[in-house]
């Protein structure tokens, strides 16, 4: 049976974005996916605006920090206060970006940026470093991979995270060189330990200043001859990046990772080989690669639809796109990110989030299936995330608690204000007996036969409105809704 356009376009919106928004529902069946993809690309055309969440106070503390004299006068209390302000700002940046994912028309750009955010995974307490790296990633998300790689490798966030400020002539620190090759370009097993040693020498002297600008410290740079991939030369860091881009293995590695993220965890070798060819020949044009994926026939093959487990961010954003809402307190969004195991700007390590089945265990699955009820006030957030000592420095409470429910310990109400009239209006023309199939069609990318029987006993039949609300919430509270 041919896959209808609505299903294909939903598939496209889940993969090339964060799922269909309620206002898009009516148009999904009207266009072919290739027409729809053109519109999606157009909506992501603009260069994204720089996101700055740092307040004046933080900026002025930073300006003081640039001054070595003032820096030395900073007391331990000042430093603690600075750390606290930074944590708050990083949290604000997290929420700001999350809301962009919900509301931005540039869905493809934000989704691509979300992918690169996991690929170029960095953790940094400095809010400005975070903002700068995020901008590099959002700006170049659909541009040229070589430029993206180069700019990320020159970013303060990544250089500091991977200890390259300690990488000096005669005292090399190989961390940066290793991850550039293992995680950013070639993938494990495609280089020798000696290549890493030699590349590390080439990256000596690369660091950043307090305002996040790239700095090349000539005195720390090893300008001797290096042997890298059998070539001899007085290579610097940029030469190494260029040599890595000239190796087709980089195109293969990136293409396979993109395929796993955007298409299917099970890689089709034939398809990815031809995609890698094209990516390499286009000199790493990301837009061209994505177009060849999203306009192909195989992308819309049934085996690729509903085959991915949504990441926590995709889940949280996707719900909010379909059911427009405003939360009284954004902290519940932080709490849910922690509970589900994916916090923006805070990847577990430089390898990023492993994804796929690793998102799911009994605790995360139950939490995921409870979220729609939490958003609609039928359940409460009574779970405590793991203590995070890297952030907390031994303090017990980090102020991310949501709104307490009465006197109960660790129980919070999410308090979402949902714009139900907008949502419900999309179903005005649907007959009562067709409502469940229609909602199911719009919400789920997996069609399992048993589900409708379960709705019978739990859906509120008191009014059309109540029926729509409860059926929506219950259909989102399913294993099927975890898939896209």
């Amino acid at each position: 049976m041919p896959v209808p356009n609505q299903v294909k376009n939903q598939h496209l919106l889940w993969r090339a974005g964060f799922g269909p928004a309620v206002e898009q529902l009516a148009e999904l069946s009207k266009y072919s996916p290739s027409q729809y993809y053109k519109a999606i690309v157009k909506a992501s055309g603009k260069k994204p605006a720089y996101i700055n969440v740092a307040g004046e106070d933080l900026v002025s503390i930073y300006e003081d920090l640039m001054d070595a004299g003032k820096r030395s006068k900073l007391s331990a209390d000042d430093r603690r206060e600075l750390a606290r302000k930074q944590r708050e700002a990083v949290r604000d940046l997290n929420i700001y970006w999350l809301k962009e994912m919900v509301a931005s028309p540039a869905q493809l750009r934000e989704k691509m940026a979300f992918f690169w955010h996991g690929h170029f995974a960095s953790r940094n307490q400095n809010i400005f470093y975070n903002q700068l790296l995020l901008q590099v990633i959002r700006e170049n998300a659909l541009g040229n991979f070589g430029t993206l790689l180069t700019e990320v490798s020159h970013s303060a966030s990544m250089l500091i995270f991977l200890n390259n400020q300690q990488n000096r002539k005669g005292r090399p620190n190989e961390n940066f060189a290793r991850e550039v090759m293992e995680l950013f370009t070639l993938g494990r097993g495609n280089y020798t330990e000696n290549d890493i040693k030699e590349a590390a020498r080439a990256f000596t002297g690369w660091t950043a200043n307090a305002s996040g600008e790239f700095v090349f410290r000539k005195n720390f740079h090893d300008d001797g001859v290096k042997t890298f991939f059998g070539k001899k030369g007085n290579f610097n860091g940029d030469d190494i990046l260029e040599l890595l881009l000239k190796d087709k293995q980089t195109a293969k590695y990136i293409t396979q990772k993109i395929y796993r993220f955007f298409v299917n965890e099970n890689v089709d070798e034939k398809i990815t080989a031809s995609l890698a060819d094209r990516f390499f020949k286009s000199n790493y044009d990301i837009s061209d690669l994505m177009e060849s994926i999203f306009t192909s026939d195989w992308f819309y093959n049934e085996k690729n639809i509903g085959a991915r487990i949504k990441s926590p961010i995709e889940l949280l954003v996707g719900i909010q796109r379909m059911v427009p809402m405003k939360l009284d307190n954004d902290n519940s969004l932080m709490l849910l990110q922690k509970l589900l195991g994916q916090q923006l700007l805070y990847p577990p390590n430089v390898a990023g989030w492993p994804g796929g089945k690793s998102w799911i265990d009994s605790s995360t699955l139950m939490t995921r299936m409870r979220i729609p009820q939490m958003f609609t006030d039928r359940d409460e957030l009574n779970l405590t995330p793991k203590q995070d000592d890297d952030q907390m420095m031994g303090r017990k409470n980090d102020g991310t608690a949501a709104v307490p429910v009465g006197k109960k310990k660790n129980a919070y109400a999410v308090n979402a204000q949902i714009d139900w009239p907008q949502y419900i209006s999309k179903y005005t023309d649907v007959k009562r007996e067709n409502l469940i199939p229609a909602i199911k069609q719009n919400l789920l990318q997996v069609n399992t036969p048993g589900l409708e029987r379960s709705l019978g006993t739990t859906v509120d039949v008191g009014s059309r409105e109540a029926f729509l609300k409860t059926a929506t919430v219950q259909l989102m509270s399913t294993p099927e809704y975890q898939m896209c």
Binding site: E23, Q24, E27, Y31, K38, A39, I40, K42, A43, A103, P105, R178, G306, P324, M325, L339, P348, V350, A351, P354, S358, I360, S362, S363, T364, L365, M366, M369, R370, T376, D377, R378, D379, E380, T384, P385, K386, Q387, D388, D389, D390, M393, G394, K396, Q417, D419, P421, V446, T448, G450, L451, R453, S454, T458, Q474, S477, T478, P479, Q482, M483
Partner: protein, 417 residues
């Protein structure tokens, strides 16, 4: 097509002043009572539960945040210790003395008693090569048992679980007392269950619905659709919840435990140990030991909690004749620097000590030399024992499992059990 027609623009009109009145029907369900409907493929396995009696059990007590080992097991005759910690060191007279040279933190009186009875061993200088000072990263290394330059997505207990629960209905061979599952308990094919309180396993309002969707789901498409993995997890979760709840009511301990999270957790663990549950590894955490500032207060408070809870737990085990079967051990992601800092605290360090508590210890007391404070690596202790040797020993000798397979390498065997 004119792309203008496509409403990709962002006119969300969020809110519109609509406020859903807070309803009072938040209800707490218990997942645990009604009998469960499992898909056929799991139903067949349901009766295979293996319940060995008198079996060996491990309790892992994680001290999160990097516990300061030097103020835990104190080298009371070491001048360097007192010199590097002018205001933070603990005087010999104030401590719980084990030997002439070695004392415990004053709050650890029950640990001293366990030492005197021969139920406690101390392993010094445990760590790993190329230590990492990030809490998260170092904890990941301890959880996954990887080398410090490897990133693994599974944990050592999780991989033990894989070996134990090959196609079994419920992955209850390992259990964490928490709301969120740690990496340590995630396997390749199985994940352990995290449960804070078996009486109210998930405290969910929508429990009946979840049971319904599971019942109505046709399990025959297993292996075909990726969503089946989630249904399998859902089935295991509901089945395990039911099983754990029933087991926890079988022989609930009557002993009194301190009214702390750790006390309640160890009480749950004791009740389960006394039941016929097939759980072999329990995992529980206490924290935060990240004492950069005002260490003494924080560490003493946490140690008092640990001391009282472990005392109630070991008393309970002795009374019920299970002390020899249970091995409780502590660990932390790293120790702290030898010298104190300017805020009466300590910063992140490297090697650390571990407590091993059981009636079944073959070697007791202080098992190896105290840290050599004259031989430091840029102010940090040098590790002498790889923590993976400890895991390997426990897996092989206590749990009778294939440590090489679970740890992915061959590690040394220690002789404390």
């Amino acid at each position: 097509m004119s792309s203008k027609k496509v409403s990709l623009s962002s006119n969300r009109g969020v809110g519109n002043g609509l406020v859903i009145k807070r309803k009072k029907f938040i209800q707490i369900g218990s997942l645990a009572t009604a009998s469960l409907m499992l898909p056929k493929f799991l139903k067949a396995l349901e009766s295979n539960a293996l319940v060995p009696s008198g079996n060996k059990v491990v309790v892992v007590l994680q001290l999160s945040g990097g516990n300061d080992g030097l103020n835990t097991v104190i080298p009371v005759r070491n001048d360097i210790y007192y010199k590097l910690r002018p205001s933070l060191s603990i005087r010999k007279g104030q401590t719980a003395e084990l030997t002439d040279e070695v004392s415990l933190h004053p709050s650890l009186t029950a640990f001293k008693a366990l030492y005197d009875e021969g139920n406690l061993a101390i392993l010094n200088n445990v760590g790993y090569p190329n230590p990492d000072r990030s809490h998260f990263r170092s904890m990941d290394i301890w959880h996954s048992a990887s080398k410090s330059n490897e990133y693994w997505n599974t944990g050592w207990v999780g991989r033990y679980l894989d070996a134990q629960c090959n196609g079994c209905a419920r992955p209850t061979q390992a259990l964490e007392v928490d709301d969120v599952l740690s990496l340590a308990l995630k396997g390749e094919r199985n994940n352990a269950i995290a449960v804070q309180n078996p009486q109210r396993l998930y405290g969910i309002a929508n429990e009946k619905y979840f049971k319904d969707i599971l019942k109505n789901h046709n399990g025959e498409h297993y292996d075909e659709q990726p969503v089946e993995y989630l249904y399998k997890t859902l089935a295991q979760t509901l089945s395990s919840a039911d099983y754990i709840f029933k087991q926890s009511r079988l022989h609930p301990t009557g002993a009194t435990y301190p009214n702390t999270e750790l006390g309640a957790g160890l009480k749950t663990i004791a009740s389960l140990i006394f039941s016929e549950i097939n759980t072999k590894v329990y995992y529980i955490s206490l924290g935060s030991f990240d004492t950069h500032v005002g260490q003494d207060n924080q560490q003493s408070k946490l140690f008092a909690q640990m001391n009282d809870a472990v005392k109630a737990f070991t008393d309970d085990l002795k009374k019920n004749g299970r002390m020899d079967d249970v091995l409780l051990f502590t660990f932390s992601e790293f120790g702290r620097r030898v010298a104190q800092n300017a805020s009466n605290g300590t910063d992140h360090g490297t090697a650390n000590n571990m407590f091993l508590i059981s009636g079944g210890l073959k070697k007791k007391g202080v098992l190896n030399a105290m840290p050599d404070l004259a031989d430091l690596n840029e102010g940090d202790l040098k590790f002498k024992i790889d923590f993976k040797d400890v895991y390997a020993t426990i897996l092989n000798k206590w749990l009778n499992a294939d440590a090489n397979k679970i740890l992915g390498a061959s590690y040394g065997m220690l002789d404390f059990i």
